[in-house]
């Protein structure tokens, strides 16, 4: 959708996801790596477990659909070249410590003088201002400061971050959205601008239920409750063990839950587990004034029921009976998931250098006009140096070789 636009991507792993999204939307994203390649190329897992800078699946996953060049922007010559790229760029993405770009003379003020229409997006742990701006932060630190970790894990146990790289992906997605909002403004005003994205703030926004709402109006810190959920008067179960793993289901009252609860009661009855739940009028069942004892009475037979069955059986029953129970998928389940298969989700991406074709996570959404999702593999180190430096900047092979010798590319 966004073809004909160019982004210069200077980010590290905390910002890779932003450029990946823009690239999957059709933006021509040039990943600029330091000579020798991004440090994140050393992150595993690796293709066929072979430790190799060109085989990091971590790199593959977050840099697909980008082009790649090497450039040392810490040299004067490198910076001059970077400024040439800026003249024709629509987006600049960076995730250096705040102040680093300014030190190099490449801050928004300097770059907008070269190209007033450019949109520069900075992704950092805490943002460009404020008392913590120079603090070092990572995915884990953002999840902690944003409060999400205080909610996840066993009661009294070690706080658990969400999936690895969750805050980085969340931050990257928010950064891509912010860049697009700025781009839309530019499309009619002609003006570029500067965008400051803070990973810790993305985590706070994700923690929408507690901050500030719950604290302000309930004066309550939710805490960690493992596989249970605190409903402000009682606990209900969110994650249920089954025969071969876990499923998720949440008990609701009122009109939201009535028809589902009735269907569940039918299933319980068929399995001889309904017991005295048969006396409950589900149309009148609600959470007002409910006791934990009552919840336990309802959940105990459901617990027994789900334990008897596999994820697959439960998912089938769930569909047949109109229940909102879903399997907690591991990656294998995910890859085999019938919903994603139906939607032709997995996209085989050819890796000519590896002589292989690899299934990737596919479209970000479906559309009648356009297809998002990975277009081609992540770049090799300096894969597009020739195309960009010679083809676009018109350098000769000799001057390119010279840059290489001087450690610029």
């Amino acid at each position: 959708m966004l073809s004909g636009l160019r982004a210069l991507d200077l980010t590290n792993e905390s910002g890779f996801f932003c450029g990946k999204i823009l690239a999957e939307f059709g933006v021509d994203v040039i990943k600029i790596e330091p000579p020798g390649g991004e440090p994140a190329r050393r992150y595993g897992p690796f293709y066929k477990d072979t430790l190799d800078l060109e085989k990091s699946l971590y790199w593959f996953a977050f840099n697909d659909s980008k082009k790649g060049i090497t450039l040392n922007i810490e040299t004067t010559e490198g910076r001059d070249i970077f400024r040439k790229f800026v003249k024709k760029a629509d987006f600049i993405l960076e995730s250096f410590p705040p102040g680093y770009m300014k030190k190099l003379g490449l801050d928004y003020h300097a770059l907008s003088a070269i190209n007033p229409a450019v949109i520069m997006t900075s992704i950092s742990p805490f943002g460009q201002t404020g008392p913590y701006k120079d603090f070092k932060g990572t995915d884990l630190v953002a999840m902690a400061m944003g409060g999400i970790m205080s909610l996840t894990g066993k009661p009294g146990g070690v706080p658990c971050r969400l999936s690895p790289d969750h805050a980085y992906c969340l931050g990257g997605a928010n950064a891509a959205l912010a860049a697009m909002i700025a781009y839309y403004y530019r499309s009619w005003s002609g003006e570029g601008q500067y965008v400051d994205v803070a990973l810790s703030e993305c985590a706070v926004r994700e923690n929408y239920n507690e901050v500030p709402v719950s604290w302000e109006f309930r004066r309550y810190n939710a805490g960690r409750h493992g596989d249970l959920m605190f409903r402000y008067n009682v606990f209900t179960r969110t994650i249920w063990p089954c025969k071969d793993g876990h499923v998720t289901w949440t008990l609701f009252g009122g009109t939201i839950g009535a028809s589902e609860n009735k269907q569940l009661a039918v299933w319980l009855e068929e399995e001889g587990l309904l017991g005295d739940l048969k006396d409950i009028d589900w149309d009148k069942f609600g959470f007002d004034g409910i006791t934990q004892d009552m919840i336990d009475r309802i959940e105990r037979p459901v617990f027994e029921l789900l334990k008897r069955h596999t994820k697959k059986e439960i998912e089938d029953a769930s569909l047949k009976r109109g229940l909102r129970i879903s399997a907690v998928n591991d990656v294998k389940d995910l890859y085999e998931n019938i919903q994603l298969r139906f939607r032709n989700y997995w996209q085989n991406i050819a890796h000519p250098v590896l002589g292989d074709s690899i299934p990737y996570a596919g479209q970000l959404f479906m559309s009648t006009e356009t297809r998002t999702g990975p277009r081609h593999p992540a770049p090799l180190i300096g894969e597009h140096n020739h195309e960009i430096y010679q083809g676009e900047l018109g350098m000769t092979a000799e001057s390119l070789a010279g840059l290489k010798t001087r450690g610029i590319i």
Binding site: Y58, V158, C160, Y185, E191, S214
Partner: protein, 406 residues
């Protein structure tokens, strides 16, 4: 208009409920679009009937949650089941650039409000249909909540330490904070695409599909190497120590993340270089990973002497990434950085009164978000009928009396 906003002049109609749908329109409204929210006083949308309420008294205008996701919108209560209500809705579609809906998949279509029907009244309409699993596919019937997409997308599988079962971040449906980001991007890119090509489009946006990308490396580890990556909790395969550590106080924790050799040296320095840090067991990252249980025990013994703030400061002074496992109270009342950056805005609502609202986690230098409180139910009925639909006051009153506007 005294300030410039990116989407000024963009017109949006949404028929949404709860969080996933409304959150999309909130981005557009806060950055300048005119967003009309279709509602009903007979069947108030889910968020209007969700606690907490002002003074614990339920009421469609008293829900705090509703205000969180409907900033700056206009509320229009109209009965879509009535032919004249339908007609009004379609007139608004003809007026709009974007339509957003997150009703149960299939409902819009069954009411003859599918993409084809909307296209008939507005050829280049952009329709954003957002949902948990998508509009099409064998599991659409399960639908559900954010917890269902956390489960299906593989997220839940990783919300745990290896020895524990998965855990849930309570009431916070994480995908509700993620799906809408992608839906908003789709809408913006589609506006641009339409400007260049003249074409509208129809989006089917699930929470499931973008979320799978969050597990990118684990997915490729499976599709390439056939490996199901085990959960690691708060640890990380590329760092050690990397965990939450217990501090002084009741359920107080800090986090420390040591990736590089330089950070390891800084870490040891912050601890005063105790003897154990020079053990060969901890000399390299791979050694530290191998002896991570021992390492974490030693780190815990050290952090237990300090408050989380003290650990964060000691580590940061030594150049080591570290932070506090903050709870809601700490973020709202104490975090000096949150205060300095005004992450929490002071808002005023005619019924709720003063309350706080988390602004978007990005700041645009020239066009910062213009965040206003959510609408009262039906607040803009008269405005929408007379100013946008061009009715006379009499026509408007007739529609109210005949319960088309409800």
């Amino acid at each position: 208009m005294d300030r410039k906003l990116p989407f000024q002049g963009v017109k949006v109609v949404e028929w949404t409920q709860a969080i996933n749908g409304p959150w999309v329109g909130a981005y557009l409204a806060d950055f300048g679009a005119e967003v009309i929210k279709i509602e009903s006083t007979r069947y108030p949308e889910m968020a209007r009937t969700s606690s907490p309420y002002k003074d614990n008294i339920p009421g469609p205008d008293r829900s705090i949650t509703f205000n969180t996701f409907n900033t700056g919108k206009k509320s229009f209560t109209v009965n879509l089941r009535e032919p004249r209500g339908r007609e009004i809705f379609l007139k608004l579609v003809a007026w709009a650039d974007i339509v957003i809906q997150n009703q149960r998949p299939g409902l819009m279509k069954s009411m003859a409000f599918g993409y084809e029907e909307l296209k008939k009244v507005k050829e280049d309409i952009i329709l954003l249909e957002v949902s948990i699993m998508g509009q099409e596919g064998p599991l659409v019937g399960v639908g559900g909540w954010g917890s269902n997409s956390m489960a299906q997308s593989g997220q839940f599988y990783y919300y745990r330490f290896p020895q524990d079962g998965p855990s849930s971040p309570g009431f916070t449906a994480v995908p509700d904070a993620i799906g809408p980001v992608f839906a908003a991007m789709a809408g913006i890119a589609a506006l641009d695409y339409r400007r260049r090509t003249g074409k509208g489009q129809h989006f089917d946006i699930s929470q499931l599909e973008p979320l799978v990308h969050f597990l990118g490396p684990a997915v490729l580890d499976y599709t390439v190497n056939g490996r199901i990556q085990p959960p690691v909790g708060s640890r990380d395969p590329h760092a050690a120590p990397h965990n939450a550590f217990r501090c002084k106080g009741d359920d107080k924790w800090c986090v420390i993340a040591v990736f590089s050799e330089v950070e390891w040296q800084g870490f040891c320095r912050a601890l005063g270089n105790p003897e154990w840090t020079i053990s060969t067991n901890f000399a390299t990252l791979s050694a530290r990973k191998e002896h991570e249980d021992d390492l974490d025990r030693l780190v815990n013994a050290w952090t237990a002497q300090f408050t989380p703030e003290e650990v964060m400061m000691l580590m940061q002074q030594a150049g080591v990434p570290a932070g506090i496992v903050q709870n809601a109270q700490e973020i709202v009342d104490f975090d000096p950085h949150v205060k300095a950056r005004e992450l929490l805005l002071k808002m005023h609502h005619p019924v709720v009164g003063d309350y706080l609202h988390t602004r978007w986690p990005f700041i645009l230098s020239k066009t910062p978000a213009h965040i206003r409180t959510g609408p009262l139910i039906g607040e803009h009925n008269h405005y929408i009928c007379t100013e946008i639909l061009g009715m006379s006051d009499d026509e408007f009153i007739k529609l109210v009396n005949e319960e088309i506007i409800i």
